[in-house]
């Protein structure tokens, strides 16, 4: 039988000690993780949090958040090695952090079979790219990006993509997403240096990012070196 406790609390802007947070039935170590997470987020504004305790995990739900950056998600993920995943729920407009409890017994992991038909997803992605006005040089990148979104929404609701272009600089806005987690965003980020400024707007349920294949000369922060030509 699982023990389920749900509690609602306001996270103050500056938290000095986790003892102040009245969290019943939460072990001290878990309390510290929750406190550190809230402290990381407290700079962004007021947050409402609630949690549910299960025998092997804790689900920490953070609501009343309006915007989130990928860098902030990274910071949250790095708080503890026991943070399994961070899910952004666009429908409920909240963020759910899955904290695994420390257990001595070795767990047997059952790998789930891929739900997505990879060939069909790739074909649909390339069809999407070729139908639209994307430069030949950028088609491969966009096929890879859109293939990911096809895979993530395969048996769910189709997401909506808005794309604004200026040369080879693209502004991508993804709407109608039900949820997305940190690990998925990480795969998107790890695709290459051309994906940047990943931003999540929970209020309007939009995931936005820039895709740029070139660097502007003025953006580079390298010091100027004077060269003498003889």
């Amino acid at each position: 039988m699982s023990l389920q406790i749900s509690e609602r609390n306001y996270a103050p802007s500056i938290l000095k000690s986790h003892e102040k947070l009245d969290m019943k039935n939460v072990e001290n170590e878990d309390k510290t993780i929750i406190y550190n997470l809230l402290h990381t987020l407290s700079r962004t504004g007021e947050i409402i949090f609630s949690y549910k305790i299960f025998p092997k995990s804790i689900f920490l739900t953070l609501s009343k958040m309006q915007t989130l950056d990928y860098s902030m998600l990274e910071k949250m993920y790095m708080v503890s090695e026991r943070i399994e995943n961070i899910t952004i729920n666009f429908r409920k407009k909240n963020v759910v952090v899955l904290i695994k409890k420390r257990s001595s017994d070795t767990q047997v992991k059952i790998r789930k079979r891929d739900i997505c038909d990879k060939r069909m997803a790739e074909a649909s992605a390339s069809n999407f790219v070729y139908k639209n006005n994307i430069r030949n040089e950028d088609k491969r990148v966009f096929t890879a990006i859109i293939k990911h979104f096809f895979a993530w929404t395969w048996k769910s609701v189709a997401c909506h993509i808005e794309l604004e272009t200026e040369g080879d600089h693209y502004k991508v806005q993804v709407t109608s997403l039900m949820s997305i987690d940190y690990k998925k965003l990480r795969t998107l980020d790890q695709m290459g240096p051309w994906i940047n400024d990943m931003h999540i707007d929970l209020e309007s349920a939009v995931l936005s990012f820039d895709v740029s294949r070139t660097e502007t000369i003025n953006d580079s922060q390298q010091p100027n070196k004077k060269t003498k030509y003889i």
């Binding site: 759910v96 999407f128 994307i134 096809f150 609701v157 909506h160 993509i161 808005e162």
Partner: protein, 156 residues
């Protein structure tokens, strides 16, 4: 517009005008052909659920097959019979396949409903299957020609 300054001198003025190019859903089928039937399906389903005092919400079209995802929120207690009855409503309207997903964390039930495709295949669509491959056609033509001219090696 981007401005950059160097040693107090304005050197570059870049005007960034983004052109809205793409605004579409990621679907593996043609939504335009299915739109009408999906809209009527949503109307029928919501009306049937409202008759039972249940507020059904349509989330959007499914990615893989023509169909819709429905959401029933604030479900705190339910039985297997009730869930089967809800499924039956979708089948009565004309759903091809209904799958159910219960999210106990958010007290929400999701119904993934695959509908019959409105796109009807034309008479000529399957005709290409009756045509044999080109090399075989060539062989048949050659055999007929040789048979007519009497030089068929097999027929003596």
């Amino acid at each position: 517009m981007q401005k950059s300054y160097r040693n107090g001198w304005k050197i570059v003025l870049v005007y960034r005008c983004f052109v809205k190019d793409i605004n579409m859903s990621l679907l593996t089928y043609k939504y335009e052909t299915e739109k009408k039937s999906l809209d009527t399906f949503v109307k029928q389903a919501t009306a049937r659920f409202l008759d039972k005092n249940l507020d059904l919400d349509c989330v959007g079209p499914l990615t893989k097959t023509p169909g819709l995802l429905f959401e029933l929120s604030n479900v705190y207690e339910t039985t297997d019979d009730e869930m089967q009855q809800m499924k039956k409503i979708f089948y009565d309207i004309g759903a091809r396949f209904v799958s159910m997903d219960i999210n106990s964390m958010t007290q929400t039930v999701y119904f993934s409903v695959e509908t019959q495709s409105a796109h009807k295949r034309s008479f000529c669509t399957g005709l290409y299957k009756c045509v044999p491959p080109l090399p075989i056609v060539f062989c048949i033509v050659l055999c007929l020609y040789k048979y007519q001219s009497g030089t068929m090696p097999l027929v003596s």
